[in-house]
């Protein structure tokens, strides 16, 4: 494949044929704003935020869909480009709730970020706004279509990655809306709540229900880890605030799954803070469990196992390890059985 040399904002760069302008700009460290663009999904070219000026072209083409050509001269911040982006932001915000102060997406919202970057303060357009009811009839995802900017990433991720086609555009003009099946709610549809749509949503239109009100994006510490359910081994970020896991978000660097998760991985980890968690050792006395200290409990176990060993021999104790525990714990458990108990009576539920 041959290379193409072009100029972007006065800087020359050589990239492989077929590269798009937005990709070439990225290589130069020039960040072009875009709301509907996601390298993992098909190109939509619909938000028009990424328009640039290219010498010899009539209009302002979108950099996400324009393929580089030899000698192309691109300006990413010309007056016309900046005017257009500002106008597009104004148009979007004219029909967008201005509740950033309480919006869960605050600090992590692309629309907010671009409005800040382009200094969009006053909205020239005062007119109708949508007033859709907020959809909360499922325990996983809150859909607030008032905050939707019709970028269509959720539609594409549902179709192209999940292969579900639950979401699509409906209606026309200003009433264009991303709907679920025949304008149902997610709960009424074939949606399986993988939450990929939430992962790609640039605004607060799609949110993880369990995280609302639990913390701001900038207050949250994200810890990448491996899912504790099935053996696919998806990675994601545990979102931690004040020592509590408040939810799970995708981590695009995950080797196995990228941004994608299933309903359990994304929404099922609230079991961590379930109030029924065992939080102290318990010893059964007269048929009732009584709280104990670690010393009491462990001494008792050590004593009892030693007794049984002594009385009935090494082979009289059996141990079940766990396919839900870590490698390190499994290693230690079998070491414990073999080196301490003195037999090979270790097994685990490898078969379920």
């Amino acid at each position: 494949m041959s290379n193409v040399t072009l100029t972007i904002d006065g800087k020359q760069i050589t990239v492989p044929e077929g590269t798009t302008v937005i990709q070439a700009a990225e290589k130069l460290g020039i960040n072009i704003p875009a709301l509907c663009y996601d390298p993992e999904l098909s190109l939509s070219g619909s938000c028009r935020m990424c328009v640039v000026e290219i010498e010899g072209m009539n209009n302002l083409p979108t950099s996400c869909t324009t393929v580089v050509r030899e000698g192309m001269n691109v300006k990413t911040k010309s007056a016309a480009v900046v005017e257009s982006r500002k106008m597009i932001l104004e148009l979007l915000i004219a029909d967008h709730p201005l509740d950033c102060m309480t919006c869960q997406k605050n600090g992590n919202c692309l629309l907010q970020q671009y409005a800040y970057e382009y200094d969009v303060k006053e909205i020239s357009f005062q007119g109708i706004r949508h007033d859709y009811p907020i959809e909360t009839d499922n325990p996983f995802i809150v859909r607030d279509m008032n905050k939707c900017i019709n970028c269509g990433k959720c539609v594409r991720v549902c179709s192209e990655i999940q292969g579900r086609d639950v979401l699509n555009f409906a209606y026309r003009g200003f009433d264009t809306k991303i709907t679920v099946d025949l304008d149902l709610t997610l709960a009424e549809s074939d949606c399986i709540f993988c939450g990929s749509c939430v992962a790609v949503c640039p605004t607060g239109a799609l949110l993880e229900k369990n995280m609302i009100g639990k913390g701001r994006s900038y207050e949250v510490k994200k810890v990448k880890t491996t899912c504790s359910f099935c053996a696919v081994g998806c990675n994601f970020d545990l979102n931690v605030k004040d020592g509590k896991v408040i939810g799970v978000t995708s981590n695009p660097t995950s080797a196995v799954n990228g941004k994608h998760l299933c309903v359990k991985g994304r929404f099922g980890h609230d079991y961590i803070h379930n109030p029924n968690r065992l939080t102290t050792p318990l010893i059964k006395k007269n048929g009732e469990f009584v709280e104990a200290t670690w010393d009491e409990a462990l001494n008792l176990v050590a004593e009892k196992f030693s007794e049984i060993k002594k009385e009935y021999g090494n082979e009289s104790i059996g141990v079940l390890s766990s396919a839900r525990c870590t490698n390190e714990e499994n290693y230690l458990m079998q070491k414990f059985v073999r080196a301490v108990i003195g037999n090979n009576n270790i097994d685990h539920c490898a078969r379920t």
Partner: protein, 617 residues
Amino acid sequence: MKSLKELRNHLRYKYLKLNRPRVSIGMGTCGIAAGAEKVKNEFISEIKKHGLDVEINITSCIGMCYREVNVEVDIPGKENVVYGDITPKKVERIVEQHIINGNPVIEWAEFQMLAEDGTSIHPIPDMEHTPYYHLQTREVSARCGRINPENIEEYIATGGYEGLENVLKQTPQEVINNLKRSGLRGRGGGGFPTGQKWQFTRDAKGEKKYIICNADEGDPGAFMDRSILEGDPHSIIEGMIIAGYAIGASEGYIYIRAEYPLAIKRLQIAINQAKEQRLLGYNILDSGFNFQIHIKVGAGAFVCGEETALINSIEGKRGMPRIRPPFPALKGLWQHPTNNNNVETYANVSLIFREGVEWYSSIGTDKSKGTKIFSLTGKIAKTGLAEVPMGTTLRQIIFDIGGGIKDGKKFKAVQIGGPSGGCLPEDLLDLPVDYDSLIEAGAMMGSGGLVVMDESTCMVDVARYFLKFTQSESCGKCTPCREGTTRMLEILERITAGKGKIEDLNLLERLARVMKTTSLCGLGQTAPNPVLSTLRYFRDEYLAHIEEKRCPSGVCSNLINYRIDPEKCVGCTACARVCPTGAISGTKKQPHVINTEICIKCGACMDACKFDAITRI
């Protein structure tokens, strides 16, 4: 191929040498709407009553929509006479006087077609010398209103499929070369050179290629494509087969809106008949070339006139435009190279290859060849279709052909090119109509709709009307179109409601600029045109609405009031009786008054007043 030629000669003879009188009733959508079905039945029963041997035939619209129902009476060896404005009541007299006794009903006759020997009936004008037709060059629409569109024999007899025969003797590349030489440009709007477009698709790599005919005529006030579809469907099919041969496609789709049921029916009949004659299907005319055509009925979304949205719609997806590039010539229908032209373009193609490139390119101007069909609507005296050579001026079309403004009012503007076009004022009427002059003037050829406006039309309101159309037809995909058309419409609504601010004009212009330069498809890019052209040519009307809170044409209801002149009012109560909201009060024989709080400004009182006592202010 010899057999088609033989068939044509045979049919020519059959249809030229009538052996009995023939009555052809214009049964296009316009004719049927005007009562053609009843007229036809009346002819049947009259003829039966008199025990006559007369052929009743149907044809389509001849272009005089303002004079429907049209009936052509054809007596063997005599002049053909075309009557206009025929009702069932008039049928008896035509049958008795003209068919039985050989005396045409002169006062109902629109024109005559001269007999072979050149004789004519005084004083009926012959077609070419009527005011309506004398400036027209009916080539593409020649068969419309003259042949039976449901009978392939009449098409073949009038030179149909001769173009295809000629094409099959050439190599595909020769066909494209000839098309390029003809200078044909797409009749759908943009005016892209058709030969070049075909070349792109021909050169594109791909096992499978497609031909699409865009019959999704969506501009308000445009109906020339429908008229060809209804009046001469084979000319489109022939054009598509030629395109398929030249490009290397074996399948074609006609994308047509469901609102055109008659056109769909006639197309289907035509396709079936063409198949029977082995003009469609496998091994066409023993050439080894295969081609088939499917009809895809669309749901009537304006945006589906945009070719990539149309392609999505054929594929069963929502009609939303795709990003370009890749252009359909490379990746179109189901990602295969696809050529898309509109109805009138394909009809031109069959004409070009029948009559020859040299003949064709002798018509029109330097850069715009051939003819263009315009639909004349709005405040024009003669509503209908007019086919003129490229380069004819707007004044000729509107005043000479169209008979000027209805009811003797004053011309104000003409909207050309549909919602994407612009409004041109009187001083541009001498503009020759061709692709490039129109673009320069801020309008566009579009598909050829001409909406004529007179002094009673408010240009701000016109802009508002078109924005309302584009706003509700926007597919919603890209931000500038979806949100921009909405906000633009809101601003125009504010101005027409008397709530506009002078800054709004600047905002409109800024918004228009962004929509034009950043929208995804042609719909959004051209949506601001009606606003920009009216701002350019009728800025004073905007200013009157904003600064004086006045609608100079008296259209914008928020800015007008009706008043009864007590001097002139005789208290006849006619106004009070027609007022739908009871806003007019007064004692009999005393001057009445209008309560402006209740008045909805419908104007019914003004129409009802016989004493000119009511004025609009």
